[in-house]
Symmetry: C2
């Protein structure tokens, strides 16, 4: 119960009190706006309006819009990593855990109520060249995520395909790239079919690499 | 020689005259800025400054920043489709053509001088929910691109793996999603290694689906 999902679980947040604190209202409003129209196009005024709070409140909690962006990004990354730890994928078999993650991503990404898009992709696209600190945070977010997946890919290789020549690190990056790409297509097409089908292709590829027979 | 690459070949443009027309200067300046910081954050003033032209010139060619965005997006899509037709991948074997495309993407994406990022991804991320017309254009751009790849994937299946159960349409979408995703990671990490390695994984997956032995 310690989780406070704010990433892909944007709409499923558990908050400590019935009325979330003003800071949290501001963060949630900002996240929704940024995922909808981008960081640059989102103004402090709009965030305050959406959160039904004053500019005074905003600047009580955040020095600037940039600071809000960084806090949001950190919150999103922490929440996404927690998601991977808490989705019933806790078994000891690393390969089963990988398939479980994929099913979990299919479920979360395909559900309109849960998935509002990836804040990491959003900031990466828009701010990577203009805000060095945000780029670093995005890089760390992707790295941490990739490392967690790589760990299972590596253990699964040792267990199921020790002689295979593929590199678990590049496989993990490939998977993360795919997860980002499918979300872009789903958003543009207003159709999430490609997400599921692409992730089923990826499962098939894992079957081949890890010699899984179905 | 009829090509006028403006997409991934942003820096390799061939122009009809030694001094490109003012309109082209504005388009090129805008594209570079948008790929760097996003559409919303790019102002008409900045575009004019970068192109060394006046606001009068800008509004002589474009009614508004939105109109400029649409023209840029169309130019980018046209140029990207031409790229696929003109990269020595003209052979009659559809599978060879697919591998050739992949090698071509590896080359273009990995070259700092050629690749400045994908304008389609940029507009999709930022404007999909706020500008319905731009979303439609992005959708059409992705659809056309997917269709071209799907055509070869389908012919290759008929020739090499007629009994296989995979769907060339979903495979094409999977490939396009991957191409978008790898660019996001490369941009954030300031490192293009993952692009090549991910596309080599994809080639390996094609080997499996099309029963290619190496």
């Amino acid at each position: 119960m310690g989780y406070n999902y704010t990433g892909w679980y944007a709409n499923k947040m558990r908050t400590k009190a019935k009325n979330p604190a003003a800071k949290e209202k501001l963060l949630n409003a900002a996240q929704a706006l940024i995922l909808k129209k981008g960081f640059s196009a989102t103004s402090v005024d709009e965030v305050c309006k959406a959160a039904k709070l004053t500019k005074g409140s905003f600047f009580h909690y955040f020095k600037s819009k940039d600071e809000l962006g960084k806090i949001l990004l950190k919150r999103f990354c922490d929440s996404s990593h927690q998601l991977m730890d808490g989705e019933g994928c806790e078994g000891t078999d690393p390969l089963k855990r990988l398939y479980c993650y994929i099913d979990c991503f299919i479920k979360v990404f395909s559900d309109d109520k849960l998935s509002r898009g990836c804040l990491l992709a959003c900031f990466s696209q828009e701010s990577a060249d203009t805000y060095p600190e945000i780029r670093c945070m995005c890089e760390e977010g992707f790295e941490e995520w990739t490392r967690r997946i790589e760990k299972d890919m590596k253990s699964a290789k040792e267990k199921y395909a020790p002689k295979a020549s593929f590199d678990p690190g590049s496989l993990a990056e490939y998977f993360v790239a795919l997860l980002e790409g499918v979300q872009i297509l789903a958003r543009v097409k207003h159709d999430k079919t490609a997400i599921k089908e692409s992730l089923i292709h990826f499962k098939h590829y894992l079957d081949v690499l890890y010699r899984v027979r179905r």
